[in-house]
Amino acid sequence: MYSRVVTHSGAPTSPDPVARSGLPAARLREIYRLMALARGLDERAWILNRSGRVHFVISAQGHEGAEAGICAALTPGRDWLLPYYRSMAAMLAFGMTPRELMLQQFGRADDPGSGGRQMPAHYGGAAYRIFSGSSPVGTQALHAAGIALAAKLRGESQVAVAMMGEGATNQGDVHEALNFAGIHRLPMVLLVENNGYAISVPAEKETAVRDLAVRAAGYNMPGVIVDGTDVLGCYLAMREAVSRALAGDGPTFIEAKVTRLTGHSSDDQQTKYRTEDDLAEGRGRDPLPAFRDELRAAGLLDEAAEAAITAEVRGLVDDATDFAEAAADPDPGTLTRHVYAEPDDAGQLHPPPAPGVG
């Protein structure tokens, strides 16, 4: 029985990130680059929104560290992601390109997740094992359990990772998913990105507990709390969860304490319900400068390298923006397509048979 809650301290336990993580310096810089790219795309989306070029933005700023660290322990192509609307960094980590993300932001025909049918930040990518997400929160926890069940029954090594905010964890579906995953010891991880708010509803009105991870004990799985500004702490927690999952030891509940640096979305004015102190405290917990300083201090990121990343990000963001803005809208004639399966060119309706269980 697990009742213990492991906490990975926010303070890097070692001055040497390479030694601490076992990841080579280049990989660490790559993680930083991914975070910077996510931030760059996100900031651009706000500019596009404020200048009236996109209707809506829901932001991942403040969540990049947790996602980049978590995803560094996953294997794209093998593992499954069940994202939510703050999963921009995870999308990049799993192979989505800046252009694809901007196509999604603009709702263009070539948006890989929905062809412009879903709101911005409603991700999906069959080519990347990123399952299609909806707006109703928490539902994906059950989909992750089902994906993990299929992997387990077929004896395939895969980990299914459901990502969501702390508010979503109070939904009944999450309880039912954790209960089922615990019973069958499924290769699944629930990643809760706890930013202390559900839109305007503060933590103390969302639950009576400080740490959601304590709930893991109620499903006989480990609950792990990590500081979302400690990118490598997130990585280490996930590395352990992944090895448990692949060893058949079952699911893990990881709670990353993060901060929401923007309003809930472009429709929200958070100064209406958050104090200046609260906002300032949040800005102080930005994972991007934190990780940059960590790499700098360890001599893994010099001025030149950082400048190169900044320049590359700007270039990628510009390119993605121009590409997506110029891209074609969906054909209105497709409005009622794909409500049901459509026969392929061979007139075949059925997907190729998957390997069986029996």
């Binding site: 709101m119 909806s134 839109i199 209105p332 409005l335």
Partner: protein
Amino acid sequence: MAIHTFIEAIREGLRDEMRRDGAVIVLGEDVGKKGGVFFATDGLWAEFGDDRVIDTPLTESMIAGVSIGAAANGLRPVAEIQFADFIFPAMNQIIQEAARIRYRSNGTFGCAITIRAPFGAGVHGGLYHSQSVEAFFAHVPGLKVVIPSTPYDAKGLLRSAIRDPDPVIFLEHKKLYRSVRGEVPDGEYTVPLGRATVNREGSRVTVVTYGLMVHHALNAAERVAGEGIETEVVDLRTIRPLDAATVLASVRKTGKCLVVHEDNRFGGFGAEIAALVAEEAFDYLDGPVTRLAGPESPAAPYSSVLEEAFLITPEKIAAAIRTLAAY
């Protein structure tokens, strides 16, 4: 009389009922300090405080279920579901519990709750912030389903809903919130549940609709009036219980009935109106009861191009009126 937007009328209705009856509470996601994502509850928390304006966790089944219990113990809860699209986790509490408590207890318990929810497309909400959900509730005995179209009705019907001893699903087309203004008396008044109204008299065709579509229908009626087609527009206001008498009286007069709603057509609420008219006004019909409804897609897609293709417009309604009139 003051001129108010639709959302102001809703807010006033809530405020006035809370002032009138200390048992009325408001609960839902972000209804407190933030005042709701559409600001329907703006100012209520400041006036009535934490006890009567409750920011709930992000759990719709809880919002409905706690409302049911609170009502059983004497409160008059008014719950807000942030978007109608998110009411589905509460389906079991609303349909199996709220709607059936009076019946299953043989009248010994009631369920005096009101559940407000913004619905409908046209605001770039995509597949999950644009849905119409009235058909699911209109089918359920024990529920009342209200869909106002004007600020006056919104306030008057909301008051009646809150005072009603039975569970009321109160659906507000979000496109109306700021786009529609109208006269709203400051004093006490109510609009009774279960009564339709004829918003425009006409002799050739009856259009039966509700919510935002009432405005589109009136607009369409104007367009075809120039062509000599006099259209009568019936605003149902409450779709359960239905004011069948008003609908039938109008169709018996015009002999032609067009039913309009934004929700998809198959199995939608319009089918009930069409079936009613086809059965009860058969001998009066000079043309087929016709339905103009949203396409058979799960909801309005996000892309403006697709959303526009999805929406019911005055032009589409006018075209349908012409076809029916020419029959």
